[in-house]
Amino acid sequence: MGTFKAAVINEIIKIYKKKKVIVAVIISLFAIVMGQLMVTVVNTGFGLRAVSGTQFPILVLSLFSRTILPFFTTLVVIDVFSGEFSHNTMKITMTRPITRIKLFTAKVSAVAFFVLVNLIIVMLLSMLAGILFNSDSITEMGVFRVLLAYIVTLIPVVAFALIIVFLANIFKSGTTVFFISVIIFIAFNAITIAFPRYSSLFITSMFDWHSLWNVNTFQISKILREFFIILGCAIMFYTAGYYLFDKRDL
């Protein structure tokens, strides 16, 4: 087995064994159930249709991608980097026949896989809830749009994760990384609200990037512009994070 593939599998297994995936899924499930209950109350109590069967997953995504997903992604990144440095377990893999660039990329890939799995599970659960409570409004195009919205959300969230990776390679303490991540997240959101003209510079404003894809006519130029901003951010923080990871003496 190639060493990179071995490292990715190992990192995914370690993330899974630490149970954060399960906690994230449980909390997401709880949020979906609560959301669907509220929608059902509005539908049956007031005779209104709050959201259709395929709009509900999009609503869930809008909330999930701004709250639960970045939170758990931050925790997983801290575990994968700072946690291993502080528990002295990083050297276990660093003394195997794998270069640091492969190891770093494997860890980032495992985090991306965690984000993808989370998104897919939440998508399936919210679609199931949407089908169960509002099956007459489900269409094939609607399902496709839901799928597309969830998949494209992966990109800005992984870019955000790379910022946390960078921080995790600067600060030795996972607690410090967590608090600084929270401060950065709140600050970015606050600046986005206070100065909407500059919102596209901040990765947190891209978490609803999926809304650009959930339309009848794609705004290609806007999608491409935001994609390149996300890509630039990702490349910058990947490179900076790797530089620090490579230079670190254990």
Partner: protein, 241 residues
């Protein structure tokens, strides 16, 4: 005899002025090389540089002819090691830990995992989580992880730490067995002179970051009553005992 580990001019200086300075040494295939020195001599620093955990200020290390800095994967492919402490993932079982490590090597299967657990005396604990292990058990697991891939060079930093008397005897026997039957080369650091005398056949003394001398145990014991006398003599020449 083939040189499996070559250290050339390695220097690493910390901010407090301590470190290792101009270390040069060769370890040949089949050697059980003892790296002897007091606490703070620089043994672990040297071993971290040898295994790529730390970068040297100058100099290089070659393992099986491959530079650690330029060809890391090739250099480390046939190396197993314990550096500083025998670490493992405490939330996984002994078996799961070794399974993770085994993926980096093509020829390590589940039978080999059981084999090394048996060799190190912890097969019956293979399904237990490492967080429930004693220090000695963790050390044995670390040794199992080090020899898992049938390495040709094993670098062990204080391998007998935490082991009971029986454990020390077993691990010493295992080292000698692997050296004899599989021609495995061992590079072992220790501050315990008696352990080094019992286990190793070539000995290098590190003191204040400098390699004071390297000689075979046979030669040493021809001229000195014990390794301890040799150590005191060599270190004494450097003016500190």
């Amino acid at each position: 005899m083939e040189t499996v580990l070559k250290v050339v001019g390695v220097t690493k200086k910390y901010n407090n002025g301590r470190g290792i300075f101009d270390i040069n040494l060769d370890v040949r295939r089949g050697d059980i090389f003892g790296f002897l020195g007091p606490n703070g001599a620089g043994k672990t620093t040297a071993m971290k540089i040898m295994t790529g955990l730390m970068s040297a200020d100058s100099g290089d290390v070659e393992i099986f002819g491959h530079s650690i800095t330029k060809e890391f994967e090739k250099a480390m492919r046939k190396v197993g090691c314990i550096i500083e402490t025998a670490e493992s993932y405490t939330y996984l079982s002994a078996y799961e830990n070794l399974k993770l490590f085994s993926r980096f090597y093509d020829d390590v299967d589940n039978n080999r995992i059981d084999e090394v657990l048996e060799l190190t005396g912890i097969l019956k604990y293979k399904k237990e989580k490492v967080k429930n292990f004693s220090l000695g058990m963790k050390q044995r697991l670390g040794i199992a992880a080090a020899i898992l891939s049938r390495p040709e060079l094993v670098i062990l930093d204080e391998p007998l730490n935490g082991l009971d008397v029986q454990g020390m005897i077993e691990i010493r026997k295992l080292i000698k067995l692997l050296a004899e039957t599989e021609k495995t080369t061992f590079f072992i650091s220790s501050h315990l002179i008696h352990d080094v005398e019992l286990t190793c056949d070539r000995i290098g003394i590190l003191y204040n970051g400098r390699l004071v001398n390297v000689d075979s145990k046979e030669n040493i014991l021809k001229n000195y009553a014990s390794l301890e006398n040799y150590y005191v003599s060599e270190v004494g020449k450097n003016g500190n005992i």
